[in-house]
């Protein structure tokens, strides 16, 4: 186990996969300079400009070429720079990458990783801060991962690269710098399995990515009042760990789902609806209001989950 940051963990995982498998390559704008978050730092020096490819500002071609290259024996890792720019390549991702295997009756495989730096960071406003896991969850053919720790960033990067289907890797921009223990080597990413972060009996709190820590902070406060929250890091949006979430909600009889993305038709709805269908648990969701991400910190606060609102919602559920 080694302490490292998310940016270091994901870089190491990518480098190790590139060493292991010569068909793995990364492409995107400005990768040769390390990428916007230095998540590619040093990789071009090691692997050369052909395998760490600097591209034109051509999102449709970046994604489309990656689809073609993935269908023809390579494993491209696409850097989208900011999730938001994926919208410039939506046809290539959704109508081509996600559907190719199926449309062609299983003839094509698209082992593609799409890295999407996600969410709030540095007040980048409406076109550089979106969280769209609910969109990808709704899109057949895609695997959707939302690591919250350096260990998961490392393990999921490896699993994503080894996956024979297209994987969306949502990398929250405010997590790059956090550090934690990472088990290097051949970790088991357990795609589809959640992580129990804190055991509790009174209420189940499910979250992912940046907001997991916010939920843990809230749980600590709740514990002081005698409310024991079970906090689960979902880790994967698709497939998601229905079994564990339903079991926990059955135990605690209360489910709270917390995410940064817009509440309306967010992935919290899928979880809450599934749990409501399967159990008698009370359910509640916390997410952002249905607004574009605003610039000013005073306004952007509407997009930040806080321990206070989680505490209030948990208390309400428990009451």
């Amino acid at each position: 186990m080694t302490m490292m940051s998310v940016v270091e963990a994901s870089r190491r995982a990518l480098a190790e996969e590139m060493r292991r498998d010569a068909t793995v390559w990364a492409l995107g704008e400005d990768l040769g300079r390390g990428g916007v978050f230095q998540q590619y730092k040093g990789l071009q020096a090691e692997f050369g400009p052909a395998r760490v490819l600097d591209t034109p500002i051509s999102e449709a071609a970046i994604m489309g070429a990656a689809v073609g290259a993935a269908m023809c024996g390579t494993r491209p890792v696409v850097e989208t720079r900011y999730l938001d720019f994926t919208l410039c390549a939506a046809d290539e991702l959704v109508n081509q990458a996600a559907k190719a295997r199926y449309m062609f009756g299983g003839q094509a495989r698209v082992p593609l990783v799409v890295r999407q730096p996600t969410g709030l960071w540095m007040n980048c406003a409406a076109q550089h801060s979106q969280s769209l896991e609910a969109w990808w969850a709704h899109m057949p053919g895609l695997v959707v991962l939302v690591p919250a720790t350096p260990a998961d960033s490392y393990a999921m990067m490896k699993a994503a690269i080894r996956c024979d289907d297209p994987v969306i890797l949502l990398e929250h921009k405010e997590l790059w710098g956090i550090t934690g223990e990472v088990e290097e080597g051949e970790p088991d990413a357990r795609l589809g399995k959640s992580r129990l972060c804190r055991r509790g009996r009174d209420v189940t709190i499910v979250s992912w990515s940046l907001t997991v820590q916010t939920c843990l902070d809230a749980a600590a406060t709740l514990a002081r009042d005698g409310i024991e929250a079970e906090v689960i890091d979902l880790r994967c949006i698709w497939p998601w760990d229905q079994e564990a979430i339903i079991a926990s909600a059955e135990k605690t009889k209360r489910l709270l789902v917390v995410h940064e993305a817009v509440l309306t038709a967010g992935f919290g709805a899928e979880i809450a609806a599934t749990v409501a269908e399967a159990t008698g648990a009370r359910v509640k969701r916390l997410g952002s209001p249905r607004i574009p991400v605003p610039f000013s910190p005073a306004l952007e606060a509407a997009f930040r989950r806080t321990p206070e609102e989680i505490i209030a919602a948990a208390r309400m559920l428990v009451a």
Binding site: T23, W25, G64, G73, N95, Q107, P140
Partner: protein, 339 residues
Amino acid sequence: MNDITPTRRNAPAAGRLLAHYRTMAHIRAFENAAERLYNEKRIPGFVHLSTGQEAIPAGVCANLAPGDQITSTHRGHGHTIAKGGDIGAMMLELFGRAGGYCRGKGGSMHIADFSIGMLGANGVVAAGMPIAVGAAHAAKLLGRNTVVACFFGDGAVNRGPFLESLNWAAVYKLPVLFVCEDNRWAATTPTATMTAGPGIAARAEALGLRTASCDGNDVAAVDDLAGELVRTVRGGAGPLFMIARTYRWSGHTSADAGAYRNPDEVARAKADDPLARTRAQLAELGIADADLDAAVAAAEAEIAAAIANAEHAPAPRLEDALREVQDVGAPDFARGARP
């Protein structure tokens, strides 16, 4: 504007031309059958017919090696046949049968045969272009000496991926031959009315590609030009671009009578039949009419057999709808509709 002048062979070799004729006869027979099957409501969905455009896939694909690849468009039957596709599997797919190319999941608009390097028809205009470029990128990364022929229509030149794909191929010097099938129409719109500037070749040249054009209804001309270009591309020259002028005999889809077109224009195009032209050339080269009739009859018989086989072949089972989506996170009916 067109800065490549192919070295024209003095006379096409009869054997090669006859092979082209056979390919074209198969395409023609397939398209005629598809049209009839649609009109008789014997197949689901729509078909986009390439009748009248047969010489382009025939002439281009004759220059591709088995390991070479193509990407296609919504109008992909001809490309598939010319690349060596299995007519039986394609017909099964048109009928939506379990034994079809795509196990009934794709239909005419998503025909593919990855075993012969046919990387798929595509329902989105120009969407095959970056895929072709990516296939060529993979070939370069893997050190394969293969070429990708990227077919697309004249309507595709107004979509952004046209620019992005050509630029990409040129920047990375990828082995792609772009083949524009210029049939002058994009659905119900004359492409020229929607396409500004000096023309398609100028666009490609402005993106760093050398271009050449030919009469797309003259299979020998297509063959000559494609032969030269494929050789050059395979030699490492980077991408090249060819324009083959042709005409779409039918409507845009099998549901479209094409009534918006001037009947004279259509009649003139039909008089310029690529099959008839090849037949005349072959006659001049001494091939007997009977041999050519036999080629046509053989093609028609093959297609008839494919229909006979497909019409009563088993449909896929409903539970097959859940297969081939993805491994991790595969769907199940419990979480969706009924089982």
